[in-house]
């Protein structure tokens, strides 16, 4: 585990560097099953800067995925605020969030979640359909993304024709094609064999170092976490370093 060398300690807005991208203040979240309240996040305060590669680890049910979902605007919260790229995510309506998410967030899933009826190309193109780009412009972006993940020769293949590692690369290409502000990866190597996992982590590292992409990665895998700049631990909804 690398020592934290980032400004994740800074909480006051005054001494904020200009590169703060995600600011989470005193976030609390509970789920309700039947009539029981199950707290998931018990007051998390966190700042993530642009260009950071953050890994979040913790046992199952610790709230890691929930935190990711909240940052992505997929889940709501009753207490605390989340400001991403200057926008208060917790205050936006569902409609606004959808639009905002399309522009700012790139999600990578553990189980890839590609649409089986679409080719790799079409899967990657999907987020661009929400923009005003012309067909030609969309093509350019998709081609670029395919290049970055080194899958240009498989563009017309369907997910069932691709290996796990290849499908995840398509997933990553889809996550970056609209040039999002943040990439959120939920256990991206969870379903892969060692070799494929390595490839994916290389790719993420490259995205971060070469393209300055801010990445928040949730993972079980200590080896994966090593690739990040900093590692956070989330246990029973409490964040620690």
């Amino acid at each position: 585990m690398t020592t934290t060398k980032l400004s994740s300690d800074q909480t006051s807005s005054g001494s904020q560097t200009a590169t703060a991208l995600v600011e989470i203040r005193d976030l609390k979240k509970s789920y309700y099953r039947d009539s029981q309240e199950i707290p998931v996040i018990e007051g998390v305060t966190l700042t993530i800067n642009r260009g950071e590669f953050l890994a979040m680890m913790g046992p199952s049910g610790s709230g890691k995925s929930t935190l990711l979902n909240i940052i992505a605007g997929l889940d709501s919260t009753e207490h605390g605020s989340v400001i991403v790229a200057g926008e208060n995510v917790t205050a936006m309506s569902a409609r606004e969030l959808a639009t905002w998410r399309g522009r700012h967030i790139g999600f990578v899933f553990q189980f890839y979640n590609l649409l089986p009826v679409l080719t790799a190309y079409q899967n990657i193109e999907l987020p661009l359909l929400l923009t005003d780009l012309s067909k030609k412009e969309r093509k350019e972006h998709v081609r670029t993304a395919l290049d970055v993940v080194s899958l240009s020769d498989r563009a017309e293949h369907f997910p069932r024709q691709l290996s796990g590692g290849q499908q995840q690369r398509v997933g990553i290409a889809r996550a970056i094609v609209s040039d999002p502000t943040i990439i959120l990866a939920d256990e991206p190597t969870g379903d892969l064999d060692a070799k494929s996992a390595e490839e994916i982590l290389d790719l993420l590292t490259r995205l971060n170092e070469e393209f300055q992409k801010t990445i928040i990665m949730v993972t079980h895998d200590a080896k994966a976490a090593e690739r990040a700049h900093a590692v956070m631990h989330l246990d029973k909804g409490v964040l620690s370093r």
Partner: protein
């Protein structure tokens, strides 16, 4: 439009299911079109009769004749331009099941009153010159393979015996709802052969002014009220419409069946859409993470459902169009059996409605889907 490919891909996700659903809708629309065409054909034939002609029949019933002597009094009634009459013959040509109508008509005056029955002049002349001549509908000629100047023999039922007729003319009706499978021969032939016993079955009267129809009808019936054979007079249109009502409550029956069919297929389509939606919960969730709006996703579902039902409907309607046309044997009982534009449009409308209704619940469900819950199911 850029989402077209996505919708398309989803439709063909499960080809068998899509095919079966489309086929179901096609089948339902075929049935719908057939049933509705029966109704529209009946309605068209009810509109067939002219408002400018009157039919005077025996008040007891159409099967009772009237005295020929009535002619002069009818002719001298104010507002009547001309008078003719006809009888139902009811003969059999070879096979009793092979039915067609035969009428004995008062030669010259009858065809003059029915300009919409086109008979070439020379043929009409031949008909008027020869007592045993007959004018036959073009459809009937084709059906039995008869030719002009051929002699045919019918067995009389009401008027027993063998009756020979020579075909001297072929008529074609202007209006397709007017049967082209009837035979007309001369009243005087009937008259002579029945030893002058027969009298007119009903009178046809040409009005000077159609708007006077009601008044003149009343006048005529009053004229004969106290005679041996009181009359009932009405416009030809009303008279024809009366025949249509003899079918009984056909319209009601047909409508009931149509409704049952619609609901049965609706259930099939809705079930399919729901099954499809259930498979895709995950994908809908993913699309929401990508930033797709709830409304957009709901629309995609509806589009998919409507395309399937729309295509199915069109297939069914086109098949119906091939089946429902003047060449169909049903034409003997229902002349002009045809698929109207109205029926076609109604069919398309219903197909689309079917799609919207069957897709409604899945569309709503996808809009309301909680991403977090859906994704958690997978991970």
């Amino acid at each position: 439009m850029k989402f077209a490919r996505l919708v398309w891909a989803n439709i063909f996700r499960n080809k068998r299911r899509t095919f079966l659903t489309t086929a179901s809708v096609a089948v339902a629309m075929f049935l719908f079109a057939s049933l509705r065409s029966i109704i529209t054909t009946l309605e068209a034939s009810a509109e067939l009769g002219s408002e400018a002609r009157l039919i005077t029949r025996n008040a007891i019933g159409i099967t009772f004749p009237l005295p020929e002597a009535y002619t002069s009094r009818l002719e001298s009634t104010r507002g009547i331009r001309s008078v003719s009459w006809a009888n139902w013959f009811g003969g059999v040509y070879q096979d009793p099941q092979d039915f067609f109508a035969q009428f004995a008509v008062q030669g010259e005056s009858y065809f003059a009153m029915y300009p919409e029955i086109h008979v070439p002049d020379d043929q009409l002349d031949a008909f008027l010159r020869e007592r045993t001549a007959a004018i036959v509908g073009a459809g009937l000629m084709e059906r039995f393979g008869w030719s002009l100047d051929q002699t045919v023999t019918l067995q009389g039922t009401i008027f027993p015996g063998d009756w020979e007729f020579t075909i001297r003319g072929v008529y074609t009706p202007e209006n397709p709802s007017f049967s082209d499978q009837a035979m007309y021969f001369r009243y005087d032939y009937l008259f002579e052969r029945t030893n002058r016993q027969v009298t007119p079955g009903w009178f046809v009267l040409q009005l000077e002014d159609p708007t006077a129809a009601a008044d003149i009808s009343t006048t005529i019936d009053a004229l004969f009220e106290n005679s041996t054979a009181p009359t009932a007079t009405e416009t030809e249109r009303a008279f024809q419409a009366g025949f249509v009502t003899m079918w009984g409550n056909v319209a009601g029956l047909v409508r009931a069946i149509g409704t049952a069919v619609f609901f049965a297929i609706l259930l099939v389509a809705a079930n399919t859409m729901m099954m499809a939606a259930r498979e895709r919960i995950n994908e809908v969730a993913v699309m929401k993470t990508l930033g797709f709006q709830n409304r957009t996703l709901a629309t995609l579902v509806l589009a998919e459902a409507t395309i399937i039902t729309g295509v199915g409907g069109l297939i069914g309607l086109f098949l119906a169009k091939g089946f429902i046309n003047p060449a169909n044997p049903v034409n003997v009982m229902l002349p002009g059996f045809n698929l109207t534009t109205g029926t076609f449009v109604a069919g398309v409308g219903i197909s689309i409605a079917l799609g919207l209704v069957s897709g409604a619940v899945p569309a709503w469900q996808s809009a309301r889907l909680s991403v977090v819950q859906a994704l958690r199911r997978v991970a």
